[in-house]
């Protein structure tokens, strides 16, 4: 655990070092990257707060027994939950990892997690832009095929990784 923590800080240090080198050699690239970084940070703060609330809620109410009851049952219910949850979830993908990690600790299987993550690619607020470029027919077909493939991916991952 301590090693993982220090690796995270080493990773951040290396990235900061890269930025320092860019600052010295390519000031314009540094400025545009930092501006983009600030924009992303400002955009994700509300999502981060939402994730924090959701994680607290999960930690408090969703016990392993609860997860066992709702997510471990057989059938399409759990897959339906993962698909809808993935499509409706907002914000950058990396903000959801801690939440999913918590759910994993509480017994959620990897297949459901991968199904959730795959369906995050279907972003309802961005669909009008996709339709603008590719048309309704294409976007609808792509969304349906992706939902279908997300379940196949989940099943495949469950077969390969035996859950603890």
């Amino acid at each position: 655990m301590k090693k993982q923590k220090s690796n995270s800080w080493i990773f951040l240090s290396i990235v900061i070092l890269i930025y320092i080198l860019i600052f010295v050699s390519k000031r314009e690239l540094f400025s545009s990257s930092i501006n983009f970084f600030i924009k992303v940070i400002l955009d994700i703060i509300p999502v981060f707060i939402f994730v924090f609330i959701l994680m607290t809620f999960t930690n408090y109410y969703i016990t392993p027994k609860f997860v066992e009851k709702h997510f471990k049952e057989r059938g399409i219910k759990k897959w339906f939950f993962a698909i809808i949850g993935g499509i409706l979830s907002t914000g950058p993908i990396y903000l959801w990892y801690p939440f999913l990690s918590e759910l994993k600790k509480k017994g959620l299987n990897y297949g459901i997690i991968s199904c959730f993550l795959y369906n995050r690619a279907i972003m309802i607020p961005l669909l009008p832009i996709a339709i603008f470029y590719f048309g309704v027919e294409y976007v609808l077909t792509l969304s349906i095929v992706m939902i279908f493939m997300s379940v196949i991916q989940g099943k495949l991952i469950n077969r390969i990784i035996k859950n603890d």
């Binding site: 951040l12 983009f36 990892y97 991968s114 972003m123 792509l142």
Partner: protein
């Protein structure tokens, strides 16, 4: 059994997020850099004259790219305008939004290396399969 208090739960959640903070900040910094380093013109030049392997190239480029899905739609739209095949563009868009090479460290930290590797690898393969399926369906509809 003694139930956890709200305060304890909030502290525990805070610690979980704090542990992921350096990796999150580092990832966003890398994404910011990637978005600014790789120009849109790079994608267009890469797809030209690669009709046979365009789906594979589309998947590869989409996998290593970073940015919001909107960027992939804009580039995908430009590629289609340039006459790049729908299969390549679909593989590109799907891998862009489903494969996360840059996010790999943070995902692996939260969910495990094996799962992250399998998820990304299968997402990469699936982006090519989906591209084939989409083209087949759309051709069948027309």
């Amino acid at each position: 059994m003694q139930e956890k208090s709200i305060k304890e739960t909030v502290i525990k959640t805070g610690k979980s997020l704090w542990n992921l903070l350096p990796m999150t900040i580092g990832t966003i910094l890398l994404v910011s850099l990637g978005v600014n380093i790789i120009p849109k013109s790079f994608y267009i030049s890469l797809f030209e004259n690669h009709s046979i392997f365009s789906a594979l190239i589309g998947s590869l480029v989409g996998s290593i790219s970073a940015g919001t899905p909107i960027t992939s739609y804009i580039i995908g739209g430009e590629l289609l305008e340039k006459g790049i095949s729908l299969m390549a563009v679909t593989a590109f868009i799907v891998s862009w939004v489903t494969v996360g090479i840059i996010q790999f460290p943070i995902e692996a930290k939260a969910l495990g290396k094996r799962f992250t590797f399998l998820r990304n690898l299968s997402s990469f393969v699936f982006s090519i399969i989906i591209a084939f399926i989409i083209v087949l369906i759309l051709e069948a509809i027309k």
